[in-house]
């Protein structure tokens, strides 16, 4: 199957070499190559001294008189928090390379390391930016393209400058409000109490699609304090500059025993929140099940605890690759905790150990996006660890209401251990290492 | 898809669709798909067969067969059809003429019905998608089985 996909990609790549319908001026900045639509570039200039303007944004270096037009000179590196490699202090007399950009009725000079050339490409060859672009906020990138083994990041100047303008406008506005309405600013002050954490909130979303919200806010704040310390020790700013940083920040977020079969210890913890006896068939929903370790663990746990009941675990994930692996999982002996191995849930298969038919029959794996309509029956238990944090706030609310609707009365909801909710229909259960709720 | 260009020149040999006496075999096509009907028609007429009728549901299929009898040599029969399906239609035709030569045309996934049809008295079956060689081979074998 994947060979087919590869083939398809290759063929697409071949096609892309045809017509040139997009020309861009390329330049380099901090060791990376960028491109800007040639239609947005008014000219290229080398300038020596510009006039410093006080009380403006740190990224505005000053103004310059360009053949009678006064233009702002902007340091794009600063604007996007791109870390410039350490370099010798600039010689004042050295000329700066400036790209003059026309955008949103503005003319702006952008300082770049060097202007490279004009490059013609086909729009088709432009790809969406991968989500792991370290420096520049992804929304300012209209695409990326590769030419002669060099990767060019194509910037959307309209977005960059319109947004900066908006920010300025908004700030002036809120300054005015400041004088008239002190209540509103109280709120907004509280929100922006720690500008560092707000920056992190945005980058977590960009790099890891992690949404900071009341569900995980407590953990994020606590983690941020740790992060500041860690960064200080390393002599760095407490910023998340790339995906690796974001992942490191989130490392301690995930519930224990996430990508593995549950240990005996964790099984006990999970069992402690379940009633001693349950009536009738048991339905369990396990959205965001990934490769299915959690779902198999649940199925075994429930079969062990309630041997008389019919068990069905409805497991789903929107990651096709992972969920495809879940149905035919093959394990090595070392991966299998004793309680599962000795519980009669495992048999020999080709290439390793596999779950017995009885366990597999209790599982129903679906390629499914939880934001779409959920066609599951009413549930006794919902295990959705570390799922809400990856949904947008509206999605979180919708899914949470749906959990509530789908749970039978006294049904139990398990969230990630660093997630918590305030919902009128749920009461928290005291449990070690688990964030669990019962439907009231 | 095979097109007319693929049709062999039939002048240098006896076309498969002709009997020893030089008259064509007469075929009735019962199928609700215009596409399949046309496909079978094209393949068979190019080999000299004569399409003496067609029907797009089981009910009119039975009627057509009775109307044409005994001047009919072969029936191709779709399985899924409105009004009366191919299996029931086959039953009615065999009831009327136990020697009727019926070939079932089936999409994959209907093995059970194909088996059932063979038990009822269908002489052969072809699984879609159809192509010229497959159709001719099955039709010719069926006609030769006396």
């Amino acid at each position: 199957m994947s060979a087919m996909i590869d083939e398809a990609i290759e063929r697409q790549e071949e096609k892309q070499q045809k017509k040139i319908d997009f020309k861009m001026v390329t330049f380099s900045l901090a060791g990376r190559d960028y491109g800007i639509d040639i239609m947005k570039v008014d000219g290229i200039s080398k300038i020596d001294k510009y006039t410093y303007v006080p009380n403006t944004y740190p990224f505005v270096k000053g103004v310059y008189n360009l053949r009678g037009d006064i233009i702002s000179i902007i340091d794009m590196g600063k604007m996007f928090h791109i870390q410039q490699p350490a370099q010798a202090a600039k010689d004042d007399s050295k000329l700066e390379n400036i790209l003059i950009i026309k955008s949103c009725d503005l003319k702006i000079g952008v300082i770049v390391d060097s202007v490279d050339k004009v490059l013609g490409i086909s729009r088709e060859s432009m790809q969406d930016p991968p989500s792991l672009f370290g420096d520049i906020n992804i929304k300012y990138i209209s695409g990326v393209t590769e030419v002669d083994d060099r990767l060019y990041i194509i910037l959307d100047t309209d977005k960059i400058f319109s947004e900066e303008e908006e920010k300025k406008a908004y700030q002036t506005e809120s300054d005015e409000i400041d004088e008239h309405d002190s209540i509103e600013t109280m709120d907004s002050q509280e929100e922006s109490a720690s500008p560092g954490i707000n920056f992190i909130i945005e980058t977590l979303n960009t790099f890891s699609r992690f949404h900071v919200s009341p569900v995980n806010r407590k953990w994020v704040e606590h983690r941020y304090d740790q992060w500041v310390e860690i960064s200080q020790k390393r002599g760095q700013e407490p910023q998340l500059v790339d995906e690796a940083d974001a992942n490191e920040f989130l490392q301690t977020f995930f519930s224990r025993e996430t990508h593995q079969l549950w240990s005996d210890e964790y099984r006990e913890k999970m069992e402690s929140i379940l009633p001693a006896k349950m009536d009738g068939p048991l339905d369990v929903w396990n959205p965001g099940c990934g490769k299915g370790f959690e779902s198999y663990s649940l199925a075994c746990l429930l079969k062990r605890k309630y041997p008389e009941n019919r068990i069905k675990v409805w497991a789903n994930d929107s990651n096709l690759l992972e969920i495809s692996m879940a149905t035919n999982i093959v394990l090595q002996k070392a991966q299998i905790p004793a309680w599962i191995n000795n519980g009669g849930f495992i048999q020999d298969g080709s290439g390793g150990k596999v779950f017995t038919k009885a366990v597999k029959d209790a599982l129903y794996f679906e390629f499914h996006d939880i934001k779409h309509k959920n066609m599951v029956p009413n549930m006794n238990l919902i295990v959705a660890r570390d799922l809400l944090s990856y949904l947008e706030p509206e999605g979180q609310k919708k899914v949470l209401d749906e959990f509530h609707g789908k749970l039978k009365s006294n049904g139990i909801l398990v969230l990630g251990e660093n997630e918590s909710i305030e919902h009128p229909g749920f009461r928290a259960i005291e449990a070690e290492a688990l964030s669990a709720y019962v439907k009231e | 898809m095979k097109t007319k260009a693929d049709f062999p020149n039939i002048n240098d040999r006896q076309p498969e669709g002709l009997k020893d006496d030089g008259n064509p075999f007469r075929v009735l096509i019962i199928d609700d798909s215009m596409f399949v009907t046309k496909q079978i028609n094209q393949i068979l007429t190019s080999e000299g067969f004569e399409i003496v009728g067609s029907a797009n549901n089981g009910e009119s299929g039975v009627e057509k067969y009775k109307e044409l009898y005994p001047n009919i040599d072969l029936v191709t029969m779709d399985i899924t059809m409105p009004k009366m399906d191919g299996v029931e239609c086959l039953e009615k035709i065999i009831e009327f003429d136990k020697d009727a030569k019926v070939i079932m045309i089936s999409a994959l996934g209907k093995q059970d019905l194909v088996k059932k049809s063979l038990l009822i008295g269908a002489k052969n079956y072809i699984v879609k998608p159809l192509d010229r060689n497959k159709v001719l081979e099955r039709v010719v074998t069926t006609l030769k089985k006396q």
């Binding site: 199957m1 087919m4 996909i5 083939e7 398809a8 063929r11 697409q12 929107s318 096709l320 969920i323 495809s324 879940a326 149905t327 129903y364 794996f365 679906e366 390629f367 499914h368 996006d369 934001k371 779409h372 309509k373 066609m375 029956p377 | 898809m1 095979k2 097109t3 007319k4 609700d32 798909s33 215009m34 596409f35 399949v36 046309k38 496909q39 094209q42 899924t80 059809m81 409105p82 999409a107 994959l108 996934g109 209907k110 093995q111 879609k128 998608p129």
Partner: protein, 154 residues
């Protein structure tokens, strides 16, 4: 969509299209859509009933439909006439039937209902929101999407 159902549909679509078009095909990335509403203009539908119910749609533009029908019939078609429609319907039938065969080998049973076709001007499928799996396939005659929406009868 149950994981086990996915591959049979992908493979069936691929092998039937390859067989009837004799074409180089390429497949786009599979994805999920919130509703099973078709979008391209010409849609052939095959219903599935049994333990699992739902439907399989083949969704393509009128232009692509005519080109594919022309290729399958070995003659140039310039309008989406009855024969062209019957051809696309048959295509849907064959793909679904083959997928169902593969599924029955795995122990899942379905029944097919006869296919129907809907074209642009009539395109109003009352649509209860059922998530659909989309399998985009690029042929030399244009793109078509296999749109599969299935659910277990609870």
């Amino acid at each position: 969509m149950r994981v086990e159902y996915i591959n049979p549909f992908v493979e069936a679509a691929f092998s039937i299209l390859k067989e009837v078009l004799g074409d180089d095909l390429s497949r786009g990335e599979l994805y999920l859509k919130a509703t099973s509403q078709p979008i391209l203009g010409v849609t052939a539908i095959v219903g599935l009933a049994g333990d699992v119910e739902g439907r399989v749609l083949i969704d393509l533009t009128e232009k692509t439909a005519m080109k594919i029908a022309s290729a399958m019939n070995g003659e140039e078609m310039t309008t989406l006439n009855e024969l062209a429609k019957a051809t696309i319907t048959e295509l849907a039938n064959m793909i679904t039937a083959q997928a169902v065969t593969k599924l029955s080998e795995l122990g899942f049973t379905f029944d097919l209902t006869p296919p129907t076709i809907i074209t642009g001007e009539k395109m109003e499928i009352t649509n209860y929101e059922v998530e659909a799996l989309i399998v985009p396939i690029e042929t030399s005659h244009g793109k078509l999407e296999i749109n599969v929406a299935l659910r277990e009868r609870n």
